[in-house]
């Protein structure tokens, strides 16, 4: 088969054998196999080197157009994708739902089809409804990257989280990663769970019982996976942790009656310096952003020596460059 033969070739293209067909979309980490995740991480390393140059520009995606279509506000994710595209010389257009005809009632699929007719190669979409990116992928021929859909998935965030952890620890296998907060509604948590499990990390999901996915542990155990557990006591969860990820607490949860008060949440679930003494001495803290300092994470930890938050943001650009490259290569020009 050509793919395995090319592994030996030197006089010809050094193509990477991709299991299965070449990926047309990045929608979910659930269907990535561990090797594919490793490939993305390795590509991100290559992209990181470009970001360290004095002139941060490569001609790779010249002539390709990328549209970020965000139906929900975002600072870091959107700017990150835009940066990533521009560094690789792509033409990037940003569309916010407010300034598109969505306000006039144009449907998502119609919007996507219009963009396709304009010759757009890749749509990066964030939408409040789970499954929206999949809808676009089904009804158009453009490449689709999910930048966060409802409470379902946020694959690029998880990949940059994994990349950041690997950067610091050298590996993910066997690390104890504790995720704290509103796991139930978090698309970041879901994608992180898929990715981290596929690479062998042990996971503890910690939060108030109303915000934990009650059947998660059982679901994993049912397929023979005993490396994921739920814990409502943060002190217990943090023992021996290598990485602690704090998730953003949204006001809506309290309004929906899932929390008695923010103050109580802070008392029992805030990730702070004092609690971190229970974790390993080498343990590090992460947050997908934007942070509610003083709520789910203390001010000191947010910007202290243990914080990987800034690394997450810079790695985000490298990882997104890798994802755009993955989708753009192997596609015949529009």
């Amino acid at each position: 088969m050509k793919a395995t033969r090319t592994a030996e070739r030197s006089a010809t293209l050094e193509t990477l054998p991709v299991q299965g067909s070449r990926r047309r979309h990045i929608l979910d980490l659930e269907d990535f196999n561990p090797k594919e995740i490793e490939d993305v991480l390795e590509m991100a390393d290559g992209m990181s080197e470009v970001l360290r140059r004095e002139i941060r520009k490569v001609p790779t995606l010249r002539g390709k157009s990328i549209v970020t279509l965000f139906y929900e506000p975002s600072t870091r994710t959107r700017a990150s994708f835009e940066q990533a595209g521009k560094i690789m010389s792509a033409d990037v257009i940003n569309l916010a739902a407010s300034d598109s005809s969505a306000g006039k009632g144009e449907s998502l699929v119609d919007t996507a089809r219009t963009l396709q007719a304009m010759g757009v190669d890749i749509i990066v979409i964030r939408h409040p409804m789970s499954g929206a990116p999949h809808l676009v992928a089904r009804h158009t021929d453009v490449g689709v990257i999910n930048a966060g859909d409802g409470s379902h998935a946020h694959p690029s965030q998880a990949l940059l989280d994994i990349y950041t952890i690997r950067q610091r620890f050298g590996h993910l296998d066997g690390l104890k990663v504790v995720m704290v907060g509103d796991i139930l509604h978090s698309r970041v948590a879901r994608s992180d769970i898929w990715g981290l499990r596929k690479l062998g990390a042990r996971l503890v999901l910690c939060g108030p019982p109303t915000l934990l996915p009650a059947d998660a542990q059982a679901a994993f155990e049912a397929v023979g996976d005993d490396a994921l557990s739920l814990e409502t006591d943060l002190d217990q969860a943090l023992r021996g942790a290598d990485v602690v990820m704090a998730l953003r607490l949204q006001k809506e949860r309290q309004e929906a009656g899932l929390l008695p008060s923010q103050r109580e949440y802070v008392r029992y679930y805030q990730v702070n310096e004092e609690r971190m003494t229970l974790a390993k001495e080498t343990a590090l803290v992460m947050h997908p952003g934007p942070m509610n300092e003083g709520v789910e994470i203390s001010h000191g930890l947010a910007h202290g020596a243990r914080s990987l938050v800034e690394a997450q943001v810079s790695n985000g650009v490298a990882v997104r460059m890798a994802l755009l490259y993955m989708l753009a290569s192997g596609r015949e020009s529009a």
Partner: protein, 188 residues
């Protein structure tokens, strides 16, 4: 598919020793030289060249490695390349860069490599050393130093195996399963 060995380990060694001497002769010394190996197999070849030069000149020429995936012209044509890290040890400004690759074919990889090197700064000059030149250039590119000229047909393939990467040293030609380079885009 049958393989025919056209260079054995000793042939390769002698060719590279000669190339190393030619590089020093042409540049009248080793000042400002910088070997840039094109990933993957250009790098061990560059290391061997630098090793030979160190033995007869007593000087270590710096070596960098260059990944050209981000500069290829065949992105839209179905080729997918794993991006690896470029590592250039020194500023290229004012240096005499010697690109090193295993096989020179269409010249497109070298075009990409030159664009990549230029993005790092303005070298004094760029030269090219290859182990094998198999002809069929599609761009006006030529090698300054060639280990062996091997005229080939388009339906043949040249494979360079190196101990560092493949466990042994040999150059083989494979009959009957080449590609039409300009149709697929982006060959050497």
């Amino acid at each position: 598919m049958e393989e025919k060995i056209i260079m054995g380990a000793e042939d390769m060694r002698r060719a590279l020793v000669r190339v190393a001497h030619e590089v020093v002769e042409r540049n009248r010394g080793v000042e400002d030289l910088l070997f840039v190996g094109i990933l993957t197999r250009g790098v061990p070849i560059a290391q061997r060249l630098a090793g030979h030069i160190e033995r007869f000149e007593g000087v270590q020429v710096p070596i960098g490695s260059l990944d050209i995936s981000l500069y290829r012209d065949d992105l839209s044509h179905g080729a997918r390349h794993l991006v690896r890290k470029t590592d250039l040890p020194a500023d290229v400004v004012g240096k005499r860069v010697v690109l090193v690759d295993d096989v020179l074919f269409t010249g497109r990889s070298i075009r990409a490599a030159m664009d990549a090197v230029m993005d790092f700064g303005r070298p004094q000059s760029v030269q090219l050393a290859v182990l094998v030149d198999r002809g069929h250039r599609e761009l006006p590119i030529r090698a300054d130093y060639v280990g062996k000229n091997v005229p080939t047909a388009l339906n043949e393939e040249i494979l360079v195996r190196l101990a560092e990467v493949d466990g042994r040293d040999q150059v083989v030609i494979i009959e009957g399963e080449g590609r039409q380079p300009s149709r697929r885009g982006g060959e050497r």
